[in-house]
Every structure is written in structure tokens, then in C-alpha cells.
């Protein structure tokens, strides 16, 4: 391990370790890409792939992200973009949960789908993609349906959960599991040109307030469908929330919901819990 640390220190240029040296270190020291990445970050050395994060995230922030685990529940429209962005951001461990395989009607928006992988499990396609774009990240694909019964076991060890589901019923189950496990939940939902995002902290019961008694069925997405751009927008907002939660920075959407209308190009904040006083 000391030899690896010396190698990383000796070969960093301008406090950056290029990809080819990260790979070389794995061969030379019998380490994984993740181990080399951890060793570099712990020495205050940034992997060169993250250099454009540098004015936004410190090396220490990058280390915090790399040590973090995030659960993404649903790997469709929202989930594909969420997983891609988390991996590029440098979150070290991503648990992805989805029981489904890709179908043709997913191709208009689901990032990991392609004509060549129709019939493939969505979480398996996510694993292939993440191994291509940032192989130092560990992606744990779980091809199963999230429920109140198995949820705690599935997201155990994660610091944040991301709602990328397409079922109101399962969302409420996820919300309950997160509350029990004391995990913040970043919630997003979409339909047509429209979407919303909020972050539920344990005890806030934000999703219960949004969906109330309407636990059955779906929303207006049943008639409106989902085009390519809405999931990308809402997923990106969700990832920004995750990043802030992991780093303890900024102002998350606690007790308030961001409502997005891409047809009118309007974004509104509405109060969800009593703890949030609307600023008007």
C-alpha cells in the first residue's frame, strides 16, 4: 500500500493523476481502480478525469463522494440519467434496483436503452455502461422489484436514496423504508412536459403529503407519456440534491417542492411541510 501511495505521489502532475497511470498502478501493485482512486484522493491528488469539477468540488469533496453509497430505485427514464450523472460525478458506490428489461417504448428517453439491448435487464445495461464510463465506480445491479418487505435489505448501507420509480404505490413504500432507516430520499416524478422534485428528510413525511391517499394507480403520465427531455431535467435536479446531501452543502429542497413546467418554461417552489415557510 505504501508503494502505491508513493507511486501516486511521485507521478501526479499538478496534483492530478492521469487515467493511464491509474491503470498502470493497478497492474503494478495488484490494486483495483477503486483502490488507486481512493489512495490518490486520500493524498489530496485528484484523478485527472475530475479536473473540471475542481472549482466546484474540492479534492476532499471528491473523496467524500467516492466513499459514498447512493441507492437509485428505478432504472428507466429518471434512473438512467441519475446513474450516469452519479457515476461521472464520482460517487463510489451506486446500488441500482429495477426488475424490468428494456422494451421498444423505452427508446425515446431511457439513457441506457438501445435497439441492440431490447430484452436486456435495465440494471445489467446500467452496469455495462458505468463500467465503460467510470470503471472505478462500483455499480451494484439488483434486478428485483423494490417493496416495503425487501426495501430495507436492498438499500442498507446507502447514505441517500433516489426515487426514480414510476409507481405512486411503490414510492410511498420507499418513503416509509427511508423514514424507518433514517435515510434522506430525493424524490422526482414526471409526466409530459412537467415534473417535480423534492427531498424528504426522515420524519418529514413529504411524499405522504404529496400523494396523500392516492396510493393506487398512476398520474397523468398515463395519458401524457414522457418525452426525452423531461426525465433528463428532473434527474439532473435530483442528482444536484444528492450531491449537496452527501457533501452537506447548499440548501436542499426540504419541506418544499420544485414544480417544473417546460411548456411554459416556469419553475415554482411550493411549500409541502409546515416547517417550510413560504417566502412571499
Amino acid at each position: 500500500m505504501e508503494a502505491l501511495i508513493s507511486f501516486v505521489k511521485d507521478h501526479a502532475e499538478n496534483q492530478l493523476l492521469p487515467w493511464r497511470l491509474q491503470v498502470e498502478a493497478t497492474g503494478r501493485f495488484g490494486a483495483t481502480l477503486a483502490q488507486v482512486e481512493m489512495a490518490a484522493l486520500e493524498q489530496g491528488i485528484l484523478l485527472a478525469r475530475y479536473q473540471r469539477n475542481r472549482q466546484t468540488l474540492t479534492v476532499n469533496d471528491q473523496l467524500t463522494l467516492f466513499k459514498s453509497c447512493v441507492a437509485v430505485i428505478g432504472c428507466g427514464g429518471l434512473g438512467g440519467y441519475v446513474v450516469e450523472e452519479l457515476a461521472r460525478l464520482g460517487v463510489g458506490r451506486i446500488v441500482v434496483i429495477d426488475p424490468d428489461v428494456f422494451e421498444e417504448h423505452n427508446l425515446n428517453r431511457q439513457l441506457f436503452s438501445s435497439p441492440g439491448n431490447l430484452g436486456t435487464a435495465k440494471v445489467a445495461a446500467a452496469a455495462i455502461r458505468i463500467n465503460e464510463i467510470n470503471p472505478a465506480v462500483t455499480l451494484i445491479p439488483l434486478q428485483t422489484a423494490f417493496s416495503a418487505q425487501n426495501g430495507a435489505e436492498l438499500i442498507k448501507g446507502c447514505q441517500v436514496a433516489v426515487d426514480a420509480l414510476d409507481s405512486i404505490q411503490v414510492r410511498l413504500e420507499l418513503s416509509g423504508v427511508c423514514t424507518t432507516m433514517d435515510i434522506p430520499l430525493v424524490h422526482g416524478a414526471i409526466a409530459g412536459w412537467f415534473g417535480h422534485v423534492t427531498t424528504q428528510f426522515p420524519g418529514d413525511d413529504t411524499l405522504q403529503k404529496i400523494y396523500g391517499s392516492r396510493s393506487a394507480g398512476k398520474g397523468v403520465e398515463q395519458t401524457l407519456g414522457n418525452p426525452s427531455f423531461t426525465p433528463a431535467v428532473v434527474a439532473s435536479l435530483e442528482v444536484a440534491e444528492v450531491c449537496k446531501l452527501l457533501l452537506g452543502q447548499g440548501e436542499p429542497l426540504k419541506g418544499r417542492q420544485l414544480v417544473i413546467d417546460l411548456l411554459s418554461m416556469e419553475m415554482n417552489i411550493i411549500a409541502i411541510t409546515d416547517s417550510y415557510k413560504e417566502k412571499e
Binding site: A164, A189, G192, F194, H196, G217, K218, G219, V220, E221
Partner: protein, 74 residues
């Protein structure tokens, strides 16, 4: 009584963004939704004067009612 109704997202299509309308005393949120042909199964967040309310809630003179569709896609 005068009620200001604000509609959001897909509810605006073929209707309006904001309108002040006349309703009889005893009008509930559900009555307003029915008058606008908004199916109850599509109603998500409902707020009167920025506070969350349920379908059966009665409106009062000068209230602002905001209706958001139920979004559940991912």
C-alpha cells in the same frame, strides 16, 4: 363569491393559467374541479392560499385555489 383559480401543468391545456371566477357559497374544491372537467383521479396537490387542502374543503370569498395534476412517471 369570487375565487381565484390557478391551474398548473397539463390542467392549463384548453383552460387557463389563472382566472377569478364566481362560485356559489358552499362550493368545495371538488365542485371547482368538476366545473372545470378535471377528473378527480388526476388531481395531485391542492392548495388554498398556499395551504394544502383536501377535495371536500369548502372555499371562502377571496380564496386562491391552486390545482396541480398528479405526476407519477419516472
Amino acid at each position: 363569491m369570487k375565487i381565484t383559480v390557478k391551474l398548473f401543468a397539463s390542467f392549463r391545456a384548453g383552460r387557463f393559467d389563472i382566472e377569478t371566477r364566481e362560485y356559489p357559497l358552499g362550493t368545495s374544491v371538488a365542485d371547482v374541479a368538476d366545473s372545470l372537467h378535471l377528473p378527480q383521479s388526476e388531481l395531485g396537490i391542492m392548495m388554498i392560499n398556499h395551504r394544502h387542502v383536501k377535495l371536500e374543503r369548502l372555499l371562502e370569498e377571496g380564496d386562491t385555489l391552486a390545482l396541480f395534476p398528479l405526476l407519477g412517471g419516472g
